[in-house]
Symmetry: D2
Subunit: 346 residues, 4 copies
């Protein structure tokens, strides 16, 4: 931590700052610049200290030198984390495609979709039973009934399943049925929920908040890591910007950034980013070309009859087409799509 | 709801749209424009219908005519809602100032602050016992111990108290001690929590999410209203923008907008918006001039020793000064600050 | 400037950095922290140096200690700058209201407006002759014909006039007729234009760019100051955010910030910020309460017949009403509205 | 255009609206909904009409049905536009890579770079002679001297050259040396400049404004088209968001959107989007996978000595590596990199 004094600061201001630093058991190191005196703080700093020093007379700004997250950082854990789920390893050389309907509506819908996406090459089945909806009047999901439908379809088709958990008191229930717990964008800073999924050892897919910086996103992951769960998959799903053609703006640059600063695997959700099905394939290809470890894609037997997010869902044909386009792009970046064969061998 | 067909749409596309509309028990009304055929949908529309129609061949866009929220709207409830709490009425002619520390740290800190802010003219005491923190390593609050300290200070100084509830399973506990339940910005779309505070009849202060549109904010209020609780106070606390001098950008225009489109009272939290204590007075005056029904302000006996949000906290002197500046501005817009006298008479 | 080395940096990395600093004739000052070595750069730094050092091996980040603008800063020029125009002083105790139509349409329109706004208390007349329009098919202004109409109306009613200049080659022409040259939001970083208005000594009103940070805005002012013109009025007109109820989001906090970090006067344009006339009064009052030195307001005899920006224009009645509301708010913050009387005495 | 009346509107409000529509020589078509009366406007509408109607009593909102741009739209011009420059066709099956330094600094620098990027496979040479700089104290380019150096290097290495034009009065000069005129992000709504480059027949590369919607961007292209120049290349270079790890956020979704709604070719500038050289390759690959017709990439012999944008520049080695990675990704989406061979044959 570095304290930059104002050009107008007086010697007593500097003494006050160094005294405060030493009161906390840390060491102060003064450098006299041309305009500014700069005071380095040596020792284990903490966030409150920054606030405390910033308010002292004569202080212009306090600069943080270290990153605020630790367990999530590449420095702390140089090797890539692999999240294993049902024989599928996320974060390795293979690209994992998770597909299925936004909301679980019926057994028929989920089974038909599971069959179709598996045949097309998806290895994880997605589906929502508890749905966060902007309006209280929208369909909020089938709840436990939906979880059962999803789990049975996963078993029948040999696919691990992922579904969202919206609240700390749902964690136990959802964990009973799901192989991966999804924390949605609106809950990325639901810290009680983060603590709770951190206490399980289940893989957690952590979506980026609508207006979260990459640093805040990794601090949310840090909550889960700090609670003892290392099985985290980071998921870029678009951020909120002024552009309104798309529902959100997929921040494709977050993919190489996360890869650089963290050891956690990162996948992309082009469906929520785009909000329009016809943009999903281009965004999916872009994410894989940029280094994503996987994709989360909404697929529905009949998107125009879907109870949620129909406009951004692919149908079986467009999903199959996308999978065939993904394969050469994955190969072009020296990776391949995870397959059921590799899974069984794993 | 209005369906705009593409210039290139064919008669069978139009028939398919009208059939789908009629299948839902609604009526379709076709207008033939120069370039576009436009189909009006008559009857009680619902959000899924928009999605369904948007995906049909030949459809260019589907426009919503009605607002998606109802109970929160001025049309539904033309008169201003007054939220009464401990003899204080929020949403009437008087401007209510809620003040206190960001985090409850000790009995001494809370009592000293309560005494000071009361003497300066605040009528509600604020203080956080459960703190949402971006980093898991920051101080997360004293929990129930803090709630007790706050409630006792409120009793001693005759002030209703407001504190944050972060999770559905905390609602019961927090409601035992608090007069107003605060739902924080990061939880504005924590729909399970909204349902839960909606089931109590306690006044709820609903902060705007960091990247929430005004419409989404009112839909969050709609969740609480829909669950049966009409005692809602809306709170502007700044939105996330590209500007980084301030922590957030206070959207002062939301104040007259909420007043126009909704009957719910709206207050402003200039402390979180600014993130810097020296900007708080200007923002507080601006909010009141723009029509805010109250203010939520962070005050700490010694901001440079605060365990949370020190840089944005006023100390007792700067708070007193602000209160003296607020009075003439309130008078200039034909309002006055709520006082303990008026409260006792109420 | 402070260079923070990576924890993993080697002694030769540090030598390379210090050598590069010394090659530029500056001095390096090394502090050894617990994790990071920090190198202070002493002497007159420049922006390219930051880039150069950031790319050297072992460097984690380069932090700027000094502000990049100088002439525009309060440190350089502690006293408030007063911009005098036609007997009106902008930046002093009096609040200056500039009012008139968005686009000059006809002699009748401008004269009627000039008369009405003067009677209501405005002291500067605004009107656009060169209009920046998002679409090439919209009305782009009357050009020089419009400038003449504006200048004559100004003369007749004894009001200085302000109008926009869109391009360097228009500066001479516009300066012939206008008392204040307006640089619009879309031209805030039109650096050739900034240089050109800087070469005149005419007062310049510099609007904030749609997505400009406060620092970039002051650097745009720095261009004008650097070219020799100190008569600059800064104008907040709303920034682009995700919120779409308003055309832009008025960043009211920029008013106290500019006042703190710069000596230049700042006014607000609530009309462009809101985009809806019925929000203009609340925003105007908020701006004055927050400390604005003036207002720029669109007024049209018949907004529903305006050729540009009708929806955000006040008519004569609503403008008169606003002026009557402004007066007590100005008084509440110990200021008063500039009047024609004070002007004549000046 | 569709006028939605308020539920509370009266018959005389509706008559007033229809009369106003008819006064403009258009036809009104009334549909009676359950809550809202909706009035369709038939005939050639114009933007002022929307404003005019929105202000009439009883009107809730006015919805635009048609896109505001025409010449730039896919509907008007269904086939892809190919922009031919020096034997290179931009917008066809081949992906065109434009590379070179941000700022032209010397003959040696430009020649060395031209040689290196040509050998690596770039087909257009870029370099800035007039540099828009946020601070007036930064290096602003060599001006005409720089243009000459660029043009000569282009001639020597057989590459068409692209460079920025910042102001209408520079157009003639820049057009003398450049094969493609670049309009920078900060000038995207410099309408006088757009008109001026529209009057030449030179290819124009139009960068997206920092906070421009896709619609505004296409309206800027419409200015150029409307002035008679069809040789436009659209360039995504990142938008301004709250994220501060990157300089801008590359909106990769704009690539398939432009392809869908417009006939103009679109390329990406990952260097300015990222602001950090180590992110450029991932973004470049993503852009090509998403369908970009080309790339604009900053390359410098020694980025740590560059006078502008060093941190985002590739050196010769990293550029060569990127080109070798691009080839298989282009092939994976059934395209190939433009080469000097194909060019010579064209």
């Amino acid at each position: 931590m570095i304290v930059v004094m104002k050009p107008s600061s007086r010697p007593e201001d500097i003494s006050r700052v160094t005294k405060r630093i030493e009161d906390f058991g840390l060491k102060a190191h003064i450098s006299q610049g041309v305009d500014h005196t700069v005071i380095g703080v040596l020792g284990k700093v903490f966030s409150e200290l920054r606030d405390a020093l910033e308010l002292l007379p004569g202080v212009e700004q306090v600069l943080l030198v270290s990153k605020p997250y630790k367990l999530a950082s590449r420095e702390f854990h140089p090797l890539d984390t692999l999240v294993e789920v049902g024989g599928v390893a996320i974060g390795g050389n293979e690209i994992v495609v998770m597909a299925g309907p936004c909301a679980i509506e019926s057994e028929e819908q989920v089974h038909a979709t599971a069959k179709a996406v598996k045949e097309a090459g998806a290895t994880v089945l997605r589906g929502g039973a508890f749905k966060p909806r902007t309006s209280p009047y929208d369909f909020r999901g089938l709840g436990e009934v939906g979880l059962k439908i999803l789990a049975e379809a996963g078993k029948e088709y040999g696919m691990p399943v992922i579904t969202e958990v919206m609240s700390p008191d749902q964690v136990e229930l959802v964990a009973k049925y799901a192989d991966i717990l999804q924390v949605g964008a609106r809950n990325m800073q639901n810290f009680v929920l983060l603590d709770e999924v951190g206490k399980t050892k289940k893989p957690v897919l952590l979506k980026r908040g609508l207006s979260s910086t990459i640093q805040e996103w990794l601090l949310a992951a840090e909550y889960i890591l700090n609670a003892g769960n290392e099985n985290i998959i980071i998921c870029e799903r678009g951020i909120r910007t002024f552009e309104n053609y798309t529902r959100n703006t997929m921040d494709v640059s977050s993919i190489p950034i996360i890869e650089k600063v963290s050891h956690l695997p990162i996948i992309a959700d082009p469906s929520h980013a785009a909000g329009k099905w016809y943009l999903v394939p281009a965004l999916a290809l872009a994410a894989v070309a940029a280094g994503a470890d996987g994709l989360l894609i909404e697929v529905h037997p009949q998107p125009d009859l879907a109870l949620a997010d129909g406009p951004q869902s692919l149908n079986f044909d467009t999903f199959r087409l996308l999978m065939s386009q993904l394969e050469p792009v994955a190969a072009a970046v020296s990776r391949k799509l995870a397959s059921h064969d590799t899974r069984n061998k794993a």
